[in-house]
């Protein structure tokens, strides 16, 4: 049964508004695949009411540990950011689809925007244990240096790493998508894996499609149940209708999403 109890071992402030939680949680640590999430109950009360879907950033089965990166965007995540060590959590998970795992030593390219780095760190980490190891390149973008959350953890797990900031405070100046097209051109990977804001993902999907490179994206949406029942987290599907981020996703092949309808709002 995909549910578990976890204990907060440590809570570290990474940058303004970003916290790294390390949880003791054997069930999730043993079962999680890169790209999956946990649906975390913030407290016992009714306000905040709903669980919060949070990407798994790292999973270490031998230590029974799971790391989760939280950005304080509202009440629920704001409360989690104040929790003390020893706090107990009720989790559903691991839930959702994961990234496809790179095969052999094939070259892949990871594209992260801000907090979207979390599921990509897990993916990069999983390749380090593979034999032969896939060649992992990464592009990590954000508004400022502060937005490049956990960049050292990410860079340490990649073979090549490009940082991009809009204000030019670290790495190249601009957007990840400014770097992506030339990178695809220079040395085409067999697949691009991307997670970040919708606008970034739409652009990444378009650039990959133009270059003929397969692309997977990890999507975010407000969520109700997390198990596929309420249809609250639906996003437009390229096949018409909608797909559920919690069940068919959060990782989708980029061609499964109707980006035009998604971005029309």
């Amino acid at each position: 049964m995909p549910r578990a109890h976890a204990t907060l071992i440590s809570r570290e402030r990474v940058t303004e508004g970003h916290y790294l939680l390390t949880l003791d949680c054997a069930e999730v640590a043993q079962n999680a695949r890169p790209g999956q999430f946990v649906h975390l109950r913030v407290g016992d009360g009714t306000d905040p009411l709903l669980r919060r879907p949070l990407s798994i950033m790292l999973s270490q089965p031998d230590r029974r540990e799971v790391q989760i990166l939280v950005r304080t965007v509202g009440r629920g995540t704001g409360i989690v950011a104040t929790h003390d060590e020893g706090t107990r959590y009720d989790l559903l998970g691991p839930l959702g689809s994961g990234w496809s795992i790179p095969q052999g030593d094939e070259p892949v390219l990871l594209v992260a925007g801000g907090i979207g780095v979390a599921p990509l760190i897990f993916l990069a980490d999983s390749t380090r244990m593979a034999d032969p190891q896939p060649y992992v390149r990464a592009i990590f973008g954000g508004l400022t240096t502060e937005s490049l959350v956990c960049w050292t953890e990410f860079a340490a797990r990649c073979d090549e790493f490009i940082a991009v900031t809009e204000d030019g405070s670290t790495g190249e100046t601009g957007l990840v998508t400014d770097v992506l097209a030339p990178e695809l051109d220079r040395d085409p990977p067999v697949r691009v894996y991307a997670c970040g804001p919708d606008g970034m993902l739409a652009a990444v999907a378009r650039i990959c499609a133009e270059a003929g490179v397969p692309c997977e994206v990890s999507m975010e949406q407000w969520m109700g149940c997390g198990v596929g029942a309420c249809l609250g987290c639906a996003i437009p599907s390229s096949a018409g209708g909608y797909v559920r981020v919690c069940t068919e996703g959060p990782v989708f092949d980029a061609t499964q999403i109707d980006w035009e309808r998604l971005m029309s709002r």
Partner: protein, 306 residues
């Protein structure tokens, strides 16, 4: 039965339920989504997500938004249509061995009647007529806020089926007892209430509604006092059994609705918060009965002091 083993069974419109707790339509999919999280055979009944004649895509995202002690939703009746429901969902639902109540929705009296006829098959134990969905135009609530339409629709559905007909009422009306009486006079076998309260929330930074549909239905603990009041009022206005719903999170909340006049209680939003909520509520009802020397829970229906 005895105080040590209280009788939790109830009867609704000819349906015998092993206990009064059932899923609220739209919050529990077709049951299977929750099969890993709780023992569905322990429930009083399963009420399905709304079924329509043709498949529905549903509303553009975002479809849900949390509010204080509650949530807004505007799913828009997304479902695969009656044919797929009958062929794929119903056999799985029947396997759980508890009564299946199919929630139906449509755009016209005729559509409701055709659906009722289609779903009058083995494996469906009752129909819940959704005249109260607030999230789809020219549907649901359009019927449920008007006495005459409620009457016509109820009559048409009752004529099209031999199954018990449960009419689901909207709280978005001036006087819910008037609509309840219209459904009763037209032949409804039971009533369920309340559907969600029409609401809205705004993202002030972006100056736009949070929901893709602009407005949505409010559910969760925030609406419970409204549900208790409406169940209380309707129970005094009609002679039909009631299924009460609205923000039930625990046994005590379910008991509030039962004491107010509900024979059975549906659990909705709470399933999202804790998937095993309904099992916990069923255990809690038995505990309450033991604590209060109640031999059969049916004794408590409408038993609030007046």
């Amino acid at each position: 039965m005895s105080v040590a083993h209280p009788d939790l069974s109830v009867e609704i419109a000819g349906l015998s339920l092993q206990n009064p707790i059932m899923s609220a339509s739209g919050t529990f999919g077709y049951g299977t989504e929750y099969a890993e999280y709780l023992d569905l055979s322990k429930l009083g009944a399963i009420v399905t997500k709304a079924v329509t004649l043709e498949p529905r895509e549903g509303n553009p995202p975002p479809r849900v938004r949390e509010t204080p002690a509650g949530m807004l939703n505007a799913i828009g009746l997304q479902n695969p249509g009656a044919e797929v429901f009958i062929r794929e969902k119903l056999p799985e639902l029947r396997a759980f061995g508890v009564p299946v109540i199919a929630n139906i929705s449509g755009r016209s009296v005729d559509e409701f009647a055709r659906l009722a006829e289609m779903l009058s098959i083995e494996g469906v134990d009752a129909l819940e007529v959704n005249i109260s969905c607030p999230n789809v135009e020219h549907e649901g609530m359009t019927f449920g806020v008007d006495c005459e339409m409620t009457g016509r629709l109820t009559e048409a559905v009752c004529a099209a089926t031999d199954l018990p007909v449960i009419v689901k009422l909207s709280p978005n009306v001036t006087d819910i007892t008037v609509i309840a009486r219209a459904a009763e006079e037209a032949g409804a076998d039971a009533l369920s209430l309340i559907n969600t309260l029409l609401g809205m929330s705004i993202d002030v930074e972006r100056r736009r509604p949070h929901l893709g549909n602009v407005t949505g239905g409010l559910s969760g603990p925030a609406v419970r006092p409204v549900a208790v009041r409406m169940v209380y009022e309707v129970s005094r206005a009609v002679d039909l059994p009631l299924i009460g719903m609205g923000g039930v999170m625990c046994a005590s909340d379910a008991l509030e609705l039962i004491l107010a006049g509900a024979t059975a209680v549906a659990v909705g939003t709470a399933n999202f918060v804790e998937p095993a909520t309904m099992e916990a509520i069923i255990r809690g009802l038995a505990d309450y009965c033991r604590r209060h020397q109640v031999v059969a829970i049916a004794e408590l229906v409408g038993a609030v002091a007046r």
